[in-house]
Amino acid sequence: MSKRKRPESNAPSDSLTDHERLIYDVIRSKQDMGIWTRDMKRELRVNLPDNIVTKSIKSLQNKSLIKEVVNIHSKGKKHLMAVEFEPSKEISGGAWYSEGSLDTEFIKVVKSQCLKQIIKLKVATLEGISDSIKRSGAFKVDLTKQQIEEIVRALVLDNQIMEVKSNGSGEFTNIPVGKVCYKNVSKGGGGGEPKTGSLASIPCGVCPQINICTPDGVISPKTCVYYTTWLDF
């Protein structure tokens, strides 16, 4: 979870050279957005030679005043930030990113937990899923409502659950009429995999070359290697 720390009012600055002070001020002014080294050089009021800048950055890092962070929009570029700040969502990618990449393991675990609770509850609202997960103690840190909503939306896109509206009766008793709920998809190929359609069941349906395939061309049904593999009995 990203949390923004308030900058301390008395930053240690006595031991900084003029150059270091200049650079540190620019970086610190960007707060939780940080700044790319090249952009930072442009913002300096004086034109400092590269070697001075590099030396200053290294010194500031050694003094634990600034740190390097990953900007997911430009992972290769050196992005600097004052240590007292945590990278904002725009830089870090948000709760689901770790060091510039999607934390796929964490996402998988949360998805699996949400799905488990939905299956257990049979019909669940977002609040229901959230409470159920909290009670299960599956996570050390509480997930926010927004996080659960994002994961549940992704499960709908994966076709593992479906979104329905409560009609207030039957399995929707105790849920207000019109409230959005989620149910496990009863069928559908099993385990969220979509049932293979007719076109997708044949080589042409999944072929990346279909746009250049012609009846008598170099790529054609008669010469097609995908067909040959498919018909290799």
């Binding site: 997911i72 929009h73 896109l157 359609g197 007719s198 042409c204 395939c213 049904p221 008669k222 067909y227």
Partner: protein
Amino acid sequence: MLTEYGTKHAVHVITNHFGDLVAKVCECLLRKGPLTRQNVKRYTELSDEQVKNALLVLIQQNCVQAFTTEQPDGFADGPKANTQYVVLFDNILHRVRFAKFLTILSQEFDQQCVELVQGLLEHGRLTLKQMFDRAKSSEKEGNLVDLDSLRETLVKLVTAHYVERCPASEPLLMPISEEEGPARKKGSKSAKKIGEPETIEQQVVEAALPMEAMRFSVVTNVESDVGEKEKNSNNVTPGEKRKHDVLELDECGVADEQSVVYRANFEGFIRRLRHKGCIDHVRAHLDDGAANVLSAMLQATSSAEKKVKTKNSVPLSLSSIYEEVIKSEAGRNMTLDHVRASLVQLGELSFVDASSDSYSIDFEKIIEIAQNEEVESVVSKRYGRDAYRIFRLLSKSGRLLETDKISDTTFVEKKDAPKILYKLWKDGYLLMEKLVVTGARQSQFLLWKVNRQILWKHVLDEMFHAALNLSLRVSYELDREKELLNLPADKRTGPLQDRYNRIRKVRILLESSQMKLDDAILLFHDF
């Protein structure tokens, strides 16, 4: 507008069934639109006789319809009628479905009905006498054919709307005036949606159709006058005005049983296939109980359907539905509660609309979901799971979404999302728009969207392409093993037997794939 592979597929079907010459004329009409015989001759560079014979074959087989239009003439002798020919693309597609039509019949009628329709499908159109002669020629001992029972069979099939009287040979197509336009489109049963302009093919088909009562009536008496005919004919409402160009009239103006021509009514079969498709879809999504309930609702309301692409079924009460459900063997074990529960399940998926204690099937919704699944399946298999989620997000949203928003919502890496989106766009699955925002710095954003109308046309073209490919591959494989297939069974030993086993499996796989793909073409083109 026909797509490229729609045209190629249709031409291939005609070539397989009727040869290159007929196919050449057909292709000319498909690509150029309706033409006079002179123009067909000009474009195909065939002789007059060849063009005439090809057109006769295509008309006989219901793949082409002639029509006349009034050409205003500069000369004093008034407007001239000229005959043009238009291809009936849908009917060409139906030619690969004859086995499906006959299967439907065999589930509802006896063998004599199946054989009668088989004859109509094979020959395109027949009079009662021709049907009788055909039945006689394949008569088996102990199973003699008589005209009365054949006539009864014909009446059964016509009443069920699986057979119809042939349309007018050359109806006059009136030009649609500006004022008439929307009203005509609204009332037209062949317009796909209200507001969508009718194609010439649709206009001609509609102009040629006999009135409903005439279309589904069997002429039973010979050499009686018109008045008597009205009394004796089945299904004719007294006092209803007849179109004089509908009946095959002899010199005395009498409809002669011997000359009235009948053909298979494709619409009837397609409607039935649409129902069957919906039932199968419900069964796959829910269970047999829900499928039984839907089937019962269809049974009770299908006679009220005015056109194939009906949006909703006639509303029914719970008790009417239950009465119909328990009529079938499959539904006999269902309780009222069970039926009610199935209706709730169907309602949750919006397959059935429930209001004021009456229930109505939403065909459009069932078909829309089935179409979505078909396309999503292609996206998943061709582009991967991440692309599947992205596509579903854009398809559900129906509006433009920005790249970052897409990657956040679908949990796709920010560096991967643009690559996937670009690939989908390049292959015609997405639309893309650029948005430039000028502020402190100029930023460019890419927005993406699924446009169903454009995409569905593209997918249908891919299906026609795939159908053509399957057909070409079948011919190629069978051609390669032609000699082996002609070898007597006892000569097929060792590796020859292995090859024979392989070609059998290949044929079964390819032909069953063709049938399955045709179900998808029905879903996107006919349902």
